[in-house]
Each structure stands twice: as C-alpha cells, then as structure tokens.
C-alpha cells in the first residue's frame, strides 16, 4: 500500500511529468496531431504492466480474471496504437 511519504513523492513525479508533457507536446505541429493521439493511446497501454502483476499474482480467482482482461485491453492499446500510428506516419511524405 501507498505510504504518505511515497504518495507525496508520487505526486511530485506526476506534477513534473505533466510539465514535461506540456513542453514536449506543445511542440507537436497540427499536422501530426492525429498520430499524436493514437501514439498516446499506445503508451497509455502501459497499464498492461500493472495488469500483468494483477493477473500474475494468483491471489484470488476474481483478481486473476480481472487482471487477465486488463492485460488483454492494455495489449490491444499497445499493439493497435503503435501499429496504426506507424501506418499513418508512413503516408506522410515530402514533395
């Protein structure tokens, strides 16, 4: 479980990462906003690592079921997101 000390460090990380995100993402030009959204879909599939622990722990039948479904959903995001982004970016060409 999350101790108060760990919570505060995590909030700090969250805030700093939001700022990093803000600065990196404002530089993405409008031309690439759709690939940006599908790309962020892909990386939000990172929930798969949390799901893997939930599915893998074997604590109760229910947690394994919920975890496995979450692994499935997260992996769908990861594969679908990266592949569709690649498919789009391949189409962008210069004159």
């Amino acid at each position: 479980m999350l101790s108060i000390e760990a919570l505060i460090v995590s909030i700090l990380i969250f805030v700093l990462a939001t700022f990093v995100g803000y600065f990196v993402i404002t530089k993405v030009p409008p031309t690439l906003h759709t690939p940006l959204m599908s790309g962020t879909n892909a990386i939000s599939g990172i929930i798969v690592v949390g799901a893997m622990i939930a599915a893998g722990r074997d604590s109760t039948t229910l947690t394994v079921i919920l975890g496995t479904i979450a692994v499935f959903l997260g992996a769908t995001n990861v594969f679908g997101g990266f592949l569709v982004t690649e498919r789009m970016l391949k189409m962008f060409r210069r004159d």
Binding site: V24, G39, V49, L73, G80, F82, L83, V84
Partner: protein, 470 residues
C-alpha cells in the same frame, strides 16, 4: 539476488522506458523524425513489459494468463490497426481511450479485492486512489464508447437532450461522489466499489450523450486526457511511477489538444459539455435578397489552369465524398503548369485534431503543402484563387463581422481576402450549424454546384484539355 534487488533493477528499466516515451513524443515534432519517435516509444514499451515479466510476485500459473492476455490483445490490436480506414481514425482513438479507461478500473478493482482478501487494513490514501482510478476509468469507458458510436453513426449524432438532463447528471455525479467517500471510509465493503463503478459508468453516458457530432473532437480529446489520468491513478494505486509518468504525459497531451480544439471553435470545454450547440437561440442572419454567382466547370477549369497561386481549403465534406485523390490530381496538374499550390487546414476541418492532414497524406499530398490556420491566413492576401471544398463554417466571414452569429469569434480561414474564390457545394443549403454564409454572396466568389468528386474530376479534365491545346 534478493527480491529488493530485483525490484530495483525492474525500476531502473522503468526509468529507461519513461525516458524513451518522452523521446518518442519529441520525435513527433517533425514528420521526418516521427516514425523514429513512434519506434522509440514502442521500444520503451517492450522494455517495460519484458522487465515486468521478472517481477517475483508473478506466480508460475500467472505467466499463462499474462501470455494469453497479451496474445489476444496483440491479435485484436493488430486487426484494428490494419483494417481501420483513415476516416475512421477518430472512432478508433475513442475505442482505445475506452479500453485504457476500462483497464485502469479493472486494475484498481483487482487491487482492492486482493488487499481485502489478504486482510490488509486499507489506508485512506490507497482507498482514494483506488476509487479515483475506478471512477475516471469508468467515465472514460462509457463516454468513449458513446463518442465512438456517434462518430461511427450507430448512435444518433444530434445532441440527445434528455429533459432535466443537467439535474439528472448532477444527481448521478452526487451519488458517485457519495459512494466514493463511503468507499474511502470503509474500503472493506466491496459492494460500495461495485455501486460506485455502476454510477460512474452511467455518468460517462450522461456526459457524452448530449454532445453533438460537430463537437466530437472536443469530447474525444478530453477523454484521451482522462484515459491518461486513469492510468496515472492506477499508478498511484500500485505505487508504480512508470504508470504515473506515462499517465501524466497522456493526460497533458489530451488537455493541450482539447484546448486547441475549443479555441478553434471559440468555445470552452465546459460550454461543449453543458450546452448542446444551437441552444443559444442567437439570431441567424437571413441571406434573402442577396444574389450569388454560379460558375460551370469549364470556366472554373480555365481560372485554375492560368492561376499562379492557389489555396485549397478542404473540410470533412471532401472525405465524405472520398475526393482526396481527385483534389491531389488537380493540384498536381496545376503545379505542372507552374501554379503554387497550398492547402489551408482549419483545426476543426476533420473529426479530430489533425484528421484532415492524415486524410490528405493518404492521398499522397506532400505535408509541406499543408498549412495551418495562422500560416495560411498570412498567405491569402497574395493568393489568386481559393477553392473551398466541403467546408462552410470555417470560411464564414460572419465569425469576424457579425456579433449576433452563433460562430462569432471563431477563428476562420480568411479566404475572402484572395482575388477570387470558388466554392464547391451541392446546393445553397447551410452548414451543420444552420448558419448562412456571406462568403457565397461576395463579388469575388463563384459557386460550383455538384458532387465534389464529380466536379473535381471535371476540373481535372478541363485543365488537361487546356494543357493539351497549348
């Protein structure tokens, strides 16, 4: 190695993953580095997943379930990615937002069950993060499915206005918050979690169902942000900093894009969510008594064949008519004749941010010809001909001149500054917002009526004829 050593090594790889995600997004600053960026982020994901396999909390039998889940997800995700048409990209992003939200809610639920099952006395901060992860994830799930349904056309695209909907939404929101507080007070009651989940799922539907089709870009970008926040909340639940960093990045991205979309519509996110478009009851200026000039394809073809500079303004109507390739052929011919061709793209030209750019890129339009709102407005004074295809409100001068217009204040492509304007349209019917467009009645404007694809083909023929006869 001790368990603590293993955890430290896994966390070191997580830091690497987080760095690769940020570098990956940074690659999206230019089309030329974007593919490498996507690959960089994918490498970060691979590292994170492989590192997690070494977590000692995972039991032998657990690997079976994990591999089954990953393989099934890989199959579905790959199928989605290969089959979705580019016009369907907003629906796909909406569905992916939904899946991300669902996964976060499931992970939070599983953690609550495990902690209770193992007899932990769950502390307040853990209970709050579990509840938030569940609520944000659930709202994202149903809200995104409604958005996807509307974009796909399976759900009525018009704002569905339930009587007293704001009151109903307020009650559901209050119940959700009440259950959330109760869960924090007594996390051992798992029925509270279930009831809160149901209330949040309902809230997601209530929030998105009144939003009209034209406002979908705002809803999709906002839910994109929520899917990130749900992942970050799950990171708090599990004490996993990689989830927190990634969730924050996605949350920031969604918020920035929501901002860009609402600014382009001259509205606020709150205005989109709480008021259906057209409810304002603003007076609509009637075009009665005004006259317009129509033009045939031959005249339009001649105008384009001898133009030295041309800007195409394309809206979603172009994609609906499947005419991207025709416009590209026309642009190529004109370029061969020495015309400087550009495309002016309004942020809300498609059904999601950057959508029109992808639709044109699919038709092999080079990206260096695609200009955004501000860039093209700087060029329009020196432009000979503007061709408007499948766009209406984004070129309506009333947004600048008529304070009583519902779109007043919305930034537009100022095409009336060009020497001549050709507007391709089926008929004189008004756009989605039901507003008449003064541009059509201006002296420099000519209307070319008909189906966009057919008209563009005619124009290609006309320009080809002229080239041959020279």
């Amino acid at each position: 190695m001790s368990d603590a050593d293993v955890i430290n090594i896994i966390n070191a790889f997580y830091v690497l993953s987080a760095a690769l995600f940020i570098l990956g997004i940074q690659g999206l600053r230019k089309p030329s580095t974007a593919r490498r960026g996507n690959l960089t982020a994918a490498a970060g994901m691979l590292i994170a997943v492989v590192a997690t396999f070494f977590d000692r909390e995972i039991e032998a039998i657990g690997y079976v379930w994990i591999v089954i889940g990953i393989l099934a997800g890989a199959a579905l995700g790959t199928w989605f990615a290969q089959t979705v048409p580019m016009t369907g990209m907003p629906q796909m992003v909406a569905v992916f937002n939904a899946l991300g939200g669902a996964a976060s809610a499931l992970v939070a639920g599983a953690e609550l069950i495990r902690l209770n099952d193992e007899g932990f006395d769950i502390d307040v901060q853990t209970a709050i993060t579990i509840a938030l992860s569940c609520v944000i994830g659930a709202v994202t799930l149903t809200g995104s499915f409604v958005a996807a349904g509307k974009l796909q056309g399976t759900i009525n695209q018009n704002p569905i206005l339930i009587p007293a909907r704001n009151a109903i939404s307020a009650i559901v929101a209050a119940i959700t918050v009440g259950l959330l507080v109760y869960l924090v007070v007594d996390p051992s009651q798992e029925w509270t979690f279930l009831a809160m989940l149901v209330a949040a799922l309902l809230a997601g539907i209530l929030v998105s169902i009144p939003i009209g089709g034209a406002d979908m870009p705002v809803l999709v970008t906002l839910l994109n942000s929520y899917s990130g926040l749900a992942a970050a909340a799950a990171g708090f639940v599990l004490g996993n900093n990689l989830l927190i960093v990634t969730g924050a990045l996605v949350g920031a991205s969604g918020l920035i894009l929501t901002n860009i979309m609402t600014r382009a519509m001259n509205r606020s996110a709150a205005n989109v969510i709480f008021a259906g478009f057209g409810e304002s009851g603003a007076s609509v200026k009637s075009a009665e008594g005004l006259t317009y000039r129509s033009m045939n394809a031959e005249d339009a073809g001649t105008l384009l064949a001898y133009a030295r500079s041309c800007v195409f303004v394309t809206g979603y109507g172009l994609a609906v008519a499947q005419a991207q390739h025709e416009i590209r052929s026309l642009a190529d011919l004109m370029q061969e004749r020495g015309c400087d061709v550009k495309y002016g793209i309004h942020p809300v030209a498609g059904r999601m941010p950057g959508h029109m750019n992808v639709l044109l890129a699919e038709a092999d339009v080079p990206y260096d010809q695609l200009y955004d709102l501000e860039a093209i407005n700087r060029e329009l004074d020196q432009t000979e001909v503007v061709v408007v295809v499948g766009a209406n409100d984004v070129v309506n001068p009333a947004a600048k001149t008529d304070p009583s217009s519902p779109i007043y204040g919305m930034p537009i492509l100022e095409v009336d500054r060009a020497q001549s304007v050709i507007v391709m349209k089926r008929s004189m019917a008004s756009g989605f917002s039901g507003i008449d467009n003064e541009l059509f009645y201006m002296p420099q404007t000519s209307m070319l009526f008909g189906n966009a694809k057919v008209s563009l083909k005619d124009l290609v023929t006309e320009v080809e004829e002229i080239s041959k006869s020279e």
